[in-house]
C-alpha cells in the first residue's frame, strides 16, 4: 500500500501527460498522413489556444470562454493552412516545411508581443481543477480525466475516419493524393477538415495541459509540441493509434525516469528513445511500409 501511494503519482502524471501529448500528436500524424508535411506550427497553435483562453476568461464567463477558445483555435488552424500551406501545394515539399517553420516563429513572436514576454497564469477551471485523493495520492481531477477523454476522442476520431464519407475521402487522400483527386474527391476540403480536426484536438489538449501546468509563455508550446512529434514518429507517423500509444509510452517513461531520480536525463531519454526506435524500426511501431511510387 505504501509502495502504491509513493509510486502512483509518477504513473498518474505519466498517463495524464501522455494523454495530452497524444491529443497534439494526432494533429501531426494526420497532417503528415495526407500532406506528407510535418506541421511545425502545431505546437505553437497549442500555445496560442492557451493564450486565447487566458484572455477570453478576463472578458467572459468560463462556459462561454471554452467553446469560444476552441472555435477561435480551430479557425486559426484552418487559416494557417489556407494562407501558408495551400498556395505552396505544388511547390517542393521542403518549401512547405520552411513555411511551417515560419508560421511557428510568427506565432511565437506574436505571442511574445502580446504578452510582453511574461508568463500568463492560466484560469482555474472549476471542477476539473479540484484536488482529489486516490490511494493516498493527491492530484488534480484533470489528471484522471485526461486519459479517459483522450481515449473517447480517439475512438470517435477512428469511427469518423472508418465510417463516414469524409473519413473515407481522408483515407483515399492519404493513400494516393493525385488519384483521389482524379476520382472526384475535393482535396482542399479534405485537407481543411484534417487541419480542423487536428487543431480541435490540440485545443482540447491545451485546456487539459495548462490546467495542470498553469503558466502560458510564448515558448510553452515548443517542448510539448516536440515531444508529441516524437510520439507521432515513435508510433509510426501517419498512424493514429500509433501516435496515441507512442504518446502514452513517452509520457509514462519520462515520469518513471524522473521517479528513478535521473531527472537530468528525462528529456535526453525521450530523444534517445526516438533514435533507437528509428534505427530498429524506421517506420515506427505501427508505421506503414514505405512504398515508393514509381
Amino acid at each position: 500500500m505504501d509502495w502504491i501511494t509513493k509510486n502512483l503519482p509518477y504513473l498518474m502524471a505519466g498517463v495524464s501527460v501522455g494523454g495530452q501529448y497524444a491529443l497534439i500528436a494526432i494533429g501531426y500524424t494526420m497532417v503528415y498522413g495526407i500532406l506528407r508535411l510535418i506541421n511545425f506550427a502545431h505546437g505553437d497553435i497549442f500555445m496560442v489556444a492557451g493564450l486565447i483562453m487566458v484572455y477570453a476568461t478576463t472578458a467572459m464567463p468560463i462556459y462561454i470562454a471554452i467553446p469560444l477558445m476552441i472555435v477561435v483555435t480551430v479557425f486559426l488552424g484552418f487559416m494557417v493552412e489556407r494562407v501558408a500551406y495551400k498556395p505552396l501545394r505544388s511547390a517542393p515539399r521542403m518549401s512547405i516545411m520552411i513555411s511551417a517553420i515560419g508560421v511557428s516563429y510568427l506565432l511565437q513572436n506574436m505571442a511574445l508581443y502580446v504578452t510582453g514576454g511574461l508568463s500568463q497564469q492560466y484560469p482555474t477551471i472549476p471542477w476539473i481543477s479540484d484536488t482529489v485523493t486516490i490511494f493516498g495520492a493527491t492530484t488534480k481531477r484533470v489528471t484522471l480525466i485526461t486519459p479517459v477523454l483522450t481515449i473517447v476522442l480517439v475512438v470517435a476520431l477512428v469511427l469518423l475516419i472508418k465510417k463516414t464519407k469524409i473519413g473515407m475521402a481522408m483515407r483515399a487522400a492519404s493513400r494516393d493524393f493525385e488519384t483521389s483527386q482524379l476520382m472526384g474527391i475535393k482535396i482542399n476540403s479534405v485537407i481543411s477538415m484534417t487541419f480542423i480536426i487536428g487543431t480541435f484536438l490540440a485545443a482540447v489538449g491545451s485546456l487539459l495541459f495548462f490546467t495542470n501546468y498553469t503558466g502560458v509563455t510564448p515558448t510553452a508550446g515548443a517542448m510539448p509540441g516536440l515531444k508529441a512529434f516524437v510520439a507521432a514518429v515513435f508510433g509510426g507517423i501517419g498512424s493514429i493509434p500509433g501516435a496515441v500509444i507512442g504518446a502514452f509510452i513517452i509520457g509514462i517513461c519520462e515520469n518513471i525516469i524522473k521517479g528513478l531520480g535521473w531527472t537530468t536525463f528525462s528529456d535526453a531519454f525521450t530523444f534517445a528513445l526516438l533514435i533507437v526506435i528509428l534505427i530498429a524500426k524506421p517506420t515506427g511501431l505501427f508505421g506503414e511500409k514505405a512504398t515508393d511510387k514509381v
Binding site: 502580446v114 510582453g116 495542470n212 509563455t217 515520469n255 528529456d267
Partner: protein, 415 residues
C-alpha cells in the same frame, strides 16, 4: 498567378490584422524604451534653457521577456521611478539630463551580449543590471572591452564580479544568502533533510543551490538534489520525490516562471512542508500563485516593504499613475525588493557620475570604488577586491496565502 497574388494579399492582411489587434495591450515591453525616451525629452524641456542639450546616458541591461522578464521589468520600474524623481545630475559643475537606454537581454545568455553591444554603441557612461546572474556574466566581457563600468543590481552569483574591476554589485551574494536560508531552515523548522531543486544551466539557480547545500550539510543536515531543464513545465514527479524522501524543507531557487508552476503543483499534491527560495521569489507572481492555496513559502530578500515610507508611497503613486507601469509590475502595486534595488542602483550611478566629474566611462569606473551611498535598502559601499557591496543582513518574508501579501518574519544575518 492570380491565386498567388491573392495568397500574398491574404498573408499581408492576416499579419496586418494581428498587428492592429494586438496594439491595445501589446506595448508592455516595447513601450518601456519609448517611455524612458519621452521622460528624457520632457526633462530636457524643463532643464535650464541655456544648455539643455547636455545628456548623460545610463544603460539599463535587463530582461523584459523570457524566464526572468517579470523580475527584470520590476527592477527597471525602480530605475524609471528614480529617473522621474531625479531627472538631472550635476557633473563637473554642469547640469546634465539623465537618459535611460533600456535594452532587453531576453533572460538569455546567448542573446545578452548583443543587447549589451547595443548599449555600448549607444555610448552609455555606465550600465545598470542585470536581474539574473547568468546574463550578467555573459555580457561582462562586452562591457569590459568597451571600458564601461557596470553595476549589478540583483545578480547574486559571486562570479559576476570575481576577478574583474569593471563589474560592481549593490546586493548581497549567494554564499551569504545560501547560508542565511540554511540557518533559517535549521533554526525555525529544525529541518534535517532538505530537497533542493535547481535549473540546469542557470548560474543563479545552481549557484545558490550549491551554497545552500554547503551550509545545510555543514549544520549536519542531509540533502536530496534534483535538476530540471529549460522548457520543463511538469514538476509533479519532483514534488512526489520530495514527499517520498521525507524532506522537511523544499528549496527551489528558480525563476518566478518555474516557481509559479511548482507552487501550483505542490498545492495540488498536498505538499505541506515549507518551501524556501532566494530573492527571485520575492515577487507578486509568487503571491498570486500562492493565494488561496495551502502552501508555506519563505523567501530571503533585499528590502522589506515598509522599510522606507517615502519610497513606498512615492513608488506606489508612480505605479498607479501609469497603466504601463502597473502592467509591468504585474497588475498591482506590491513593491518588489528588486524595484527598491533598481532605485538604489540609479542613485549609486548618479553618485559615481558626480564624483567622477565627467561622463567618461573610465572616470566613472574609477569613481565607483569610492562611492558611499545610503539608499532605501541600506548603506552601500564597495569592497576593494571585487567591487561587491558590503551587506550583512537579509530579510526573511513569508507569503500570506489569505491576503496575498508578504508577512515580515525576521531580519537575518550569518553568525
Amino acid at each position: 498567378m492570380k491565386k498567388r497574388v491573392l495568397a500574398m494579399a491574404l498573408v499581408a492582411a492576416m499579419a496586418g490584422t494581428m498587428l492592429t489587434g494586438c496594439g491595445g495591450n501589446g506595448g508592455n515591453s516595447s513601450n518601456t524604451g519609448s517611455d524612458a525616451g519621452s521622460a528624457g525629452t520632457e526633462a530636457d524641456a524643463s532643464a535650464p534653457a541655456a544648455d539643455g542639450a547636455k545628456v548623460v546616458k545610463i544603460g539599463v541591461y535587463e530582461p523584459a521577456s523570457g524566464d526572468n522578464g517579470a523580475g527584470g521589468k520590476q527592477e527597471v520600474l525602480g530605475m524609471q521611478y528614480a529617473n522621474e524623481e531625479t531627472p538631472t545630475v550635476e557633473i563637473g559643475g554642469e547640469e546634465y539630463t539623465v537618459q535611460l537606454e533600456i535594452v532587453d537581454n531576453e533572460s538569455s545568455n546567448d542573446k545578452g551580449p548583443s543587447a549589451a553591444s547595443s548599449l555600448v554603441s549607444a555610448g552609455v557612461s555606465v550600465v545598470l543590471g542585470s536581474y539574473g546572474s547568468g546574463v550578467s556574466i555573459a555580457a561582462s566581457d562586452v562591457f569590459k572591452e568597451a571600458g564601461i563600468p557596470a553595476i549589478g543590481v540583483t545578480c547574486t552569483n559571486p562570479q559576476v564580479t570575481e576577478g574583474n574591476t569593471h563589474y560592481f554589485r549593490i546586493c548581497f551574494l549567494d554564499p551569504f544568502q545560501g547560508t542565511v536560508l540554511a540557518n533559517f531552515a535549521n533554526a525555525n523548522f529544525s529541518a534535517k533533510k532538505a530537497y533542493i531543486l535547481t535549473k540546469l544551466g542557470d548560474d543563479y539557480s545552481t549557484g545558490l543551490g550549491y551554497y545552500f547545500k554547503e551550509a545545510f550539510t555543514g549544520l549536519g543536515g542531509e540533502v536530496i538534489e534534483e535538476t530540471f531543464q529549460e522548457g520543463n513545465s511538469d514538476f509533479t514527479s519532483y514534488v512526489t520525490k520530495a514527499k517520498n524522501e521525507g524532506a522537511e524543507v523544499f528549496f527551489a531557487p528558480v525563476s518566478t516562471e518555474a516557481a509559479a508552476l511548482i507552487i501550483e503543483q505542490a498545492a495540488a499534491q498536498g505538499l505541506t512542508i515549507p518551501m524556501m527560495a532566494g530573492d527571485t521569489w520575492d515577487s507578486n507572481v509568487i503571491l498570486n500563485a500562492a493565494k488561496g492555496k495551502d502552501v508555506q513559502i519563505y523567501v530571503t530578500t533585499f528590502y522589506q516593504e515598509g522599510g522606507n515610507a517615502d519610497f513606498d508611497n512615492g513608488f506606489k503613486g508612480y505605479i498607479n499613475s501609469n497603466p504601463t507601469a502597473t502592467a509591468n509590475n504585474g497588475g498591482d502595486d506590491t513593491i518588489s525588493a528588486v524595484s527598491a534595488m533598481g532605485y538604489d542602483a540609479y542613485y549609486v550611478a548618479l553618485e559615481a557620475l558626480k564624483a567622477a566629474g565627467s561622463t567618461d566611462p573610465a572616470a566613472v569606473n574609477e569613481a565607483l570604488w569610492k562611492v558611499n551611498y545610503t539608499g532605501v535598502s541600506g548603506s552601500i559601499t564597495f569592497d576593494e577586491v571585487n567591487g561587491d557591496a558590503m551587506r550583512d543582513t537579509a530579510y526573511v518574508k513569508c507569503a500570506n496565502t489569505e491576503s496575498g501579501e508578504w508577512d515580515f518574519v525576521a531580519e537575518q544575518g550569518v553568525n
